[in-house]
């Protein structure tokens, strides 16, 4: 093999770089999944602490729901949402969702940061005012 030492050195460096992230993380405890905080004054006031749909549905589908809501409100002019339990809600991120979930940094951002997603809702919609802790 001509220039064998160069090839082998190159291979060693390549394997080192390629496996570095795995080796670096080995033995470290996984980052625990975040627990979205629902401790807000508005939610504390509720007798039964529940969102407009079930927790599992909201957890998995809230982004789809918000997209649907956006189209219903802006494009069709429909503003009232009848939930599966018969309650009616105004479809509004800023005025309905965030009224209860007034802790955006603890509720929205924690999961979104964990999942490394950056939704652009807040470029336009005004986030509720939170006291800095």
């Amino acid at each position: 093999m001509y220039d064998g030492w160069k090839i082998i050195l190159g291979l060693i460096i390549f394997i080192g770089i390629a496996t570095f992230p795995f080796l670096y993380d080995m033995g470290k405890a996984a980052v625990p999944p975040p627990k979205p905080n629902i401790d807000t004054p508005e939610i504390q006031k509720m007798a039964v602490k529940k969102c407009i749909e079930t927790k599992s549905f909201m957890r998995a589908e809230h982004m789809v729901m918000l997209n649907d809501w956006r189209d219903f409100v802006v494009r069709d002019g429909d503003r009232l949402y009848t939930a599966s339990d018969g309650h009616q809600y105004t479809m509004s991120l800023q005025n309905t969702c965030m009224k209860c979930h007034s802790n955006k940094t603890k509720f929205c951002d924690e999961c979104h940061n964990y999942m490394a997603v950056t939704p652009y809702c807040w470029d336009c919609h005004i986030a509720p005012k939170e006291e800095k802790t």
């Binding site: 789809v64 956006r70 219903f72 802006v74 002019g77 503003r79 009848t82 336009c124 005004i126």
Partner: protein, 272 residues
């Protein structure tokens, strides 16, 4: 076991039908899971076939009359005050006669009219050129009431609509508008805009949905009540012969901005 051609075709056919049936049932079930609940318009909403406005410019006597309308609008919609004319963002504003009605400035026009500022806004055209050019359908005419709407979620900031609008009713956010919005007066119930989108008057669709008249009209009526005069802005359904706007239009001489372009504007002007 051997299988003849006929048997094979039978099995293949029936399994295809079953699979298709199963697929459609499963999508139906999935859909009902997502859309089990329904949506509807707010019963409080004001409805019309086609919203329109009459601007009675003879009722605008003082600087204050113009200011209350513009300020009310810009406050409820979080319109930033950028400070330079080039990057100015405006939904309803004051314009000179020459600029608002070019081509109609006659040589010997009375100086009062020539220098009379007119209150101008988006005309909510029946045949809106901005809608025709929008490549993403971010701006569209609502079929239900003729309002020319903006869907900020879809706007890509190409500014075709600004080039198309013959009334200059559209403004572009050249920079993040947030720092230019007065934090004290911010309306927390309405979004702001972001850098790179076009905005304009939407006839307060968010207020109409709650049963309120547009902010500028409300401000004009309030001032009129205070000063004991008649309001300069009148809002109503152009398709309803008994509406306030139609009553005024049927008794007074009215004119519109650049009607020769065929956009059929929904904002009418009267000189008293």
């Amino acid at each position: 076991m051997s299988i003849n051609r006929r048997e094979f075709l039978k099995i293949a056919g029936s399994s295809t039908v079953l699979a298709l049936g199963g697929l459609s049932v499963s999508t139906l079930l999935k859909k009902s899971l997502l859309e089990a609940s329904q949506v509807m318009p707010d019963p409080r909403a004001l409805v019309a076939k086609r919203w329109g406005m009459v601007v009675d410019i003879s009722k605008f006597k003082t600087e204050e009359d113009y200011r209350v309308c513009t300020e009310a609008c810009h406050r409820v919609h979080n319109v930033p005050n950028v400070g330079t004319i080039k990057e100015e963002i405006k939904w309803i504003w004051k314009e000179t006669y020459e600029h608002a009605f070019p081509g109609q400035e006659d040589e010997f026009l009375s100086p009062e009219i020539k220098h009379l500022p007119f209150l101008v806004l988006c005309n909510h055209c029946d045949n809106p050129p901005c809608v025709r050019v929008c490549p993403t359908k971010a701006t569209f005419k609502r079929e239900s009431d003729g309002i020319v709407m903006m869907d900020m979620h879809r706007c890509i900031g190409c500014r075709f609509c600004m080039a198309a609008c013959p009334y200059g009713a559209r403004s572009f956010n050249y920079r993040d508008p947030r720092p230019f919005i007065d934090k004290e007066k911010e309306n927390l119930e309405f979004p702001t805009r972001m850098k790179g989108v076009v905005e304009k008057c939407t006839f307060c669709y968010e207020r109409l949905a709650k049963g309120l008249i547009p902010a500028c009209v409300e401000a004009s009526q309030e001032l009129a009540r205070k000063t004991g005069r008649e309001p300069g802005l009148i809002f109503g359904d152009l398709e309803d012969p008994n509406s306030e706007v139609r009553k005024i239009l049927s008794t007074r001489y009215s004119f519109r901005r650049k009607p020769e372009l065929g956009t059929r504007p929904g904002v009418y002007y009267i000189l008293g």
